[in-house]
């Protein structure tokens, strides 16, 4: 279902993300909806002022998993175009950490697929976010356990569709 034009573009990038690049060649005459999400770096987290972020990833695995999630969500929601890129490295406030685009015949499935693909990438792909605060300290943002058989799964059980309540996912 995924269009072939983007098959070789990396899903993990260490340079600024481009919405134009993500959309190039994705046009579809049978689609009346284009839904776009950008997750941008916020200047605060749980009351602490944030100066910048550093994202790291297991790039090979993350790239492969994002491609798999794109296909899974496209099939589940019946949308012909579903694509995500995630940035790594040091990001300043306001820069885009993640871009996602979905094209679909109608907006309902476009919105649904867009939300699903962003949630899946945030919760399942080996990417880590370290926040650097204005007081000079830093911390990794608490994340989601992705081991199916971890001895102590994070919070509720691992391996199902999570609903997160304490992970600071409220940007955008």
């Amino acid at each position: 279902m995924i269009q072939m034009h983007d098959i070789n573009q990396p899903r993990i990038q260490d340079t600024p993300l481009s919405l134009d690049a993500l959309l190039t060649g994705s046009e579809r005459d049978d689609c009346g909806a284009l839904a776009v999400f950008a997750g941008t770096v916020r200047n605060h987290h749980e009351g602490k002022p944030v100066a910048h972020l550093v994202y790291t990833a297991h790039a090979a695995l993350a790239d492969k998993m994002i491609r798999g999630i794109e296909q899974e969500i496209a099939a589940k929601h019946g949308v012909p175009v579903c694509r995500v890129v995630h940035r790594i490295g040091a990001l300043a406030i306001g820069e885009s950490a993640i871009l996602a685009v979905v094209r679909a015949p109608h907006r309902a499935e476009a919105f649904a697929a867009l939300r699903a693909v962003v949630d899946a990438v945030k919760h399942r792909v080996p990417i880590w976010k370290e926040e650097f605060y204005t007081d000079g300290s830093s911390a990794f943002v608490t994340g989601c356990c992705i081991a199916e058989d971890a001895a102590q799964p994070h919070e509720d059980d691992a391996g199902h569709d999570h609903r997160h309540h304490d992970h600071g996912h409220q940007h955008a």
Binding site: L61, K122, I127, W128, E130, A147, A150
Partner: protein, 86 residues
Amino acid sequence: MAGSRIEVRVQCFGPARRLAGDEWLSVQLGEPATVADALAALAQRGDDFAALLKQCAVALGDEIVRRTYPLKAGDEIALLPPVAGG
């Protein structure tokens, strides 16, 4: 063969790298060895690291493998703590 030992290299990501103080670690394991054996050896590094290991997925190449997965000499595994993209 009983008593023989293998070395497995371990690449640390995210908070595991910060706790380990290094990107790469190595462990010596008696054969036959599994991912669980490697994690048990790594847990000797301290309580904080041991606690994080319980929440780590383990990858070999670009596949996530289970605790029961067998390891052989020269394998390089990746420690993947809880993730937080986006």
